[in-house]
């Protein structure tokens, strides 16, 4: 065991002392933090620009346009963040068009030629029968803009308001009747208590944890593989395994690099904890919102990192031992990396329905458990038996793969040249 310790120490110190480690530790959380804060920050600054919309009004009802204009302008000012991108300011101008004229011809003549105001020019057509369920039309060069949803909401509300007035409702009360209702959201915690929260906040936290777990396991797993290849390429393996067993060498490497990962994650978790406690207010005053991460989630994160890392690192070590160059490794590591990427492609499924049978089953698969079970823990509180079972399955799988990888590794590290096929790998298992 002392020899394993010597290897762990080397692997750890060699990596933690590098500049790359320091930079990676600081940069990655800043990047993610930026991703979380930036949208809110941009919305605050109203960076979306102005959109000029010509309203081709055939309704013959000037109040309709007036209502629409005031609604849109109040929306511009209210800075609500219901819409993802409400930062665009709409500027409406009215152009009265008779019922006989074809609005499309007008749009064509104004969009081509010298009267062209640029790409931002858009048209809203309010037809003569706009109050009789003939829908309004929006013509623009750019339709892939979420802010259109805000305009749509305003038009819809204004038309409903005009319809209500036509039906004889008291104009002064209509605004009150039509006030939109916010669904207040509460999350039921582990103890059954409800705390106010929101889908957005849960999503942010869950996604951040999922993403970081995926990145960390992938990153440090590849680290292990590259370490093995480096030792093979520099022909240092034979020197080392004349002193220690190949299995000890592999375990020492995996544990050493795992500790580097834990150090990094420890720093992140600590900063996240501090940020949740003290930083939230600071950022809130700046207009950004920092989701707070409950302590138990951080604990689970560390647990699932350790398990996930061990599982994938042994696989990556095995892959590294069978190849002789980084180029070969690119191909050979693909199946392993795929196992890690799959949950990143299907996590939406689990997030939207975390208690379904398929979600439960997927989160039990040892290769997916670190990411998907972590996600379920962040979104709902799965029963303890499910969490424990997933961990138990992972542990058993890890032990199996450590055994298998050790057998492949001890032969592979001394083999150079052609990459072995599966049949050859099978035969390696039987070597003395």
């Amino acid at each position: 065991m002392k020899k394993v310790w010597v290897i762990i120490k080397r692997e750890y110190l060699v990596r933690v002392r590098t500049r790359a480690f320091a930079i990676g530790t600081v940069i990655s959380p800043l990047l993610l933090l930026g991703l979380i804060i930036l949208p809110g920050f941009l919305a605050q600054r109203g960076g979306g620009g102005e959109r000029y919309v010509t309203v081709l009004d055939q309704s013959g009802d000037p109040d309709l346009f007036a209502g629409l204009k005031s609604r849109v302008e109040s929306k511009n000012d209210s800075n609500s963040d219901e819409e993802f991108n409400s930062s665009t300011r709409f500027v409406l101008t009215r152009q009265v068009v008779t019922a006989e004229q074809d609005p499309r011809e007008l749009i064509q003549s104004q969009s081509s030629g010298s009267g062209n105001k640029g790409p931002d020019k858009a048209f809203l057509v309010l037809g003569p029968k706009i109050l009789d369920d003939v829908p309004p039309e929006y013509h623009a060069k750019n339709l892939s803009d979420f802010s259109i949803r805000a305009l749509e909401g305003a038009v819809s509300a204004t038309i409903a308001e005009r319809k209500l007035m036509r039906a004889g409702f008291d104009a002064s009360k209509i605004g009150q009747y039509m006030k939109p209702i916010d669904l207040k959201q509460f999350k039921i915690g582990a103890g059954g208590e409800s705390t106010e929260g929101g889908m957005r906040q849960d999503f942010m936290v869950a996604f951040a944890l999922l993403f970081f777990l995926y990145m960390s396991v992938l990153f440090y797993g590849i680290f292990v593989m590259r370490g093995v290849i480096e030792e093979k390429q520099s022909r240092i393996v034979e020197v080392v395994i004349s002193s220690v067993k190949p299995t000890q060498m592999m375990l020492g490497k995996v544990i050493g690099i795992g500790l580097v990962g834990l150090t990094q994650i420890g720093i992140w978790a600590l900063s996240a904890g501090l940020l949740s406690m003290f930083g939230a207010k600071l950022f809130a005053s700046q207009g950004g919102r920092v989701p707070s991460i409950p302590l138990n989630l951080l604990v689970y994160f560390v647990l699932y990192f350790v398990l996930g890392f061990f599982l994938y690192a042994t696989l990556y070590a095995m892959v590294g031992s069978t190849v002789s160059s980084e180029e070969d490794a690119q191909q050979a590591q693909f199946p392993v990396t795929l196992l890690l990427v799959v949950p990143m492609m299907i996590f939406g499924l689990v997030m939207s329905n975390p208690s379904s049978t398929s979600s439960i089953v997927l989160s039990m698969v040892p290769f997916f458990a670190p990411t998907l079970m972590m996600l379920r823990i962040a979104v709902i509180n799965p029963p303890a038996w499910q969490v424990l079972l997933s961990m138990a399955i992972m542990l058993a799988t890890i032990l199996g793969f450590v055994w298998l990888s050790a057998k492949i590794y001890r032969v592979g590290i001394l083999m150079y040249g052609k990459r072995p096929n599966l049949a050859e790998l099978g035969r390696w298992l039987r070597y003395n």
Binding site: K2, K3, V6, I7, R10, V14, T18, E230, E231, Q233, S234, R235, I236, E238, V239, V240, I241, S242, S243, V244, K245, L414, R427, Y431, N432
Partner: protein, 309 residues
């Protein structure tokens, strides 16, 4: 006392038999040459001694015990395929290697300083291997293999790529270690070095032993069957019946006589043919000759045996 002993050792990889029924003994305080052509099974044999492979049959004994991880600290190994960690300082690497063999860090760093000084590398202690020439790296690797002061040292091509000065330095270190009673197993293709340094040799081919014993005895066994002839004139006098192999060098010929041929007959025919003979000497064959003769001979025998089946 035998420090290393192989007793009818066999090692297979799938259908391929790398080492077959191999036995040899290495006496304490001697330099032992493990020789053979490429792919003969030298590296496999060595890996069994250092406990990287386990034999399928037979016993490998080191200091009279079956090899085991407990014996590894007593063995030093410089493999043919060797290297250093690229991003680690020389001094740190050597301490790491010593630690792996169970030497404490403080003791290790003291020894590292001594050895670096002895091999004239002290200035490079805090440099990384990328800053060192290949020869310097080689010397560092050598230190790494003996830093734990082992009883047995296995050196596979220790001089390859070294300049003559470094070769001399390393040779004196090795001979010094032998003086201290250490045992050295030496594997190389450089037969001159074997002749200079080895007490005993074992030549293997196709995983089998084809020749073994003390160097002196092996050479004596072949007898004085080689004529060194320095002459002027034509070489037409050399009949096929007398000469097994004829090597012409710039100033002389090395003639390996056929079995039972008389050396005097060569001289008689040369004089008869009117050649001027400046030097005529009957010598033991060089180890190089023995090596080539034995390896090609055993190959021919193997082919004959194959054909007879």
């Amino acid at each position: 006392m035998n420090v290393v002993e192989l007793k009818s050792v066999t090692k297979r990889f799938d259908q391929f038999i790398a080492v077959k029924d191999l036995s040899f003994e290495v006496r304490q305080g001697t330099i032992f040459g493990l020789l053979g052509p490429n792919g003969a099974g030298k590296t496999t044999s060595i890996r069994m001694i250092v406990n990287i492979f386990a034999p399928d049959d037979g016993d490998v004994l080191v200091m009279s015990k079956q090899v085991s991880p407990e014996l590894q600290p007593f063995i030093g190994y410089l493999p043919e395929e060797r290297g250093l960690y690229k991003k680690m300082k020389i001094g740190d690497q050597l301490v790491f290697f010593a630690n792996l063999k169970g030497v404490s860090s403080s003791e290790a760093s003291r020894r590292v300083d001594d050895w670096l000084k002895r091999l004239e590398l002290s200035d490079w202690k805090n440099k990384k291997p990328t800053d060192l020439s290949k020869g310097m790296q080689q010397k560092v690797q050598f230190i790494g293999s003996i830093i734990h002061n082992p009883e047995v040292m296995i050196l596979d091509e220790p001089f390859s790529g070294l300049d003559p000065v470094s070769v001399d330095l390393l040779k004196s270190v090795i001979l010094d270690l032998k003086q201290q009673g250490k045992t050295i197993i030496f594997s190389t293709h450089q037969m001159e070095q074997v002749e200079q340094m080895c007490d005993d040799i074992c030549l293997i081919n196709h995983g089998r032993q084809v020749l073994s014993g003390s160097l002196r005895e092996v050479k004596r066994r072949y007898g004085k069957n080689t004529v060194i002839l320095d002459y002027e004139g034509t070489d037409s006098f050399l009949g096929v019946d007398l000469v097994k192999q004829h090597k012409r060098f710039a100033n002389y010929s090395e003639i390996l006589l056929s079995d039972g041929a008389d050396a005097q007959e060569v001289l008689r025919r040369a004089l008869e043919a009117g050649a001027r003979v400046n030097r005529f000497e009957l010598v033991e064959p060089s180890l190089n000759e023995i090596f080539i003769e034995t390896v090609t001979g055993s190959k021919n025998r193997a082919q004959v045996a194959e054909a007879a089946r």
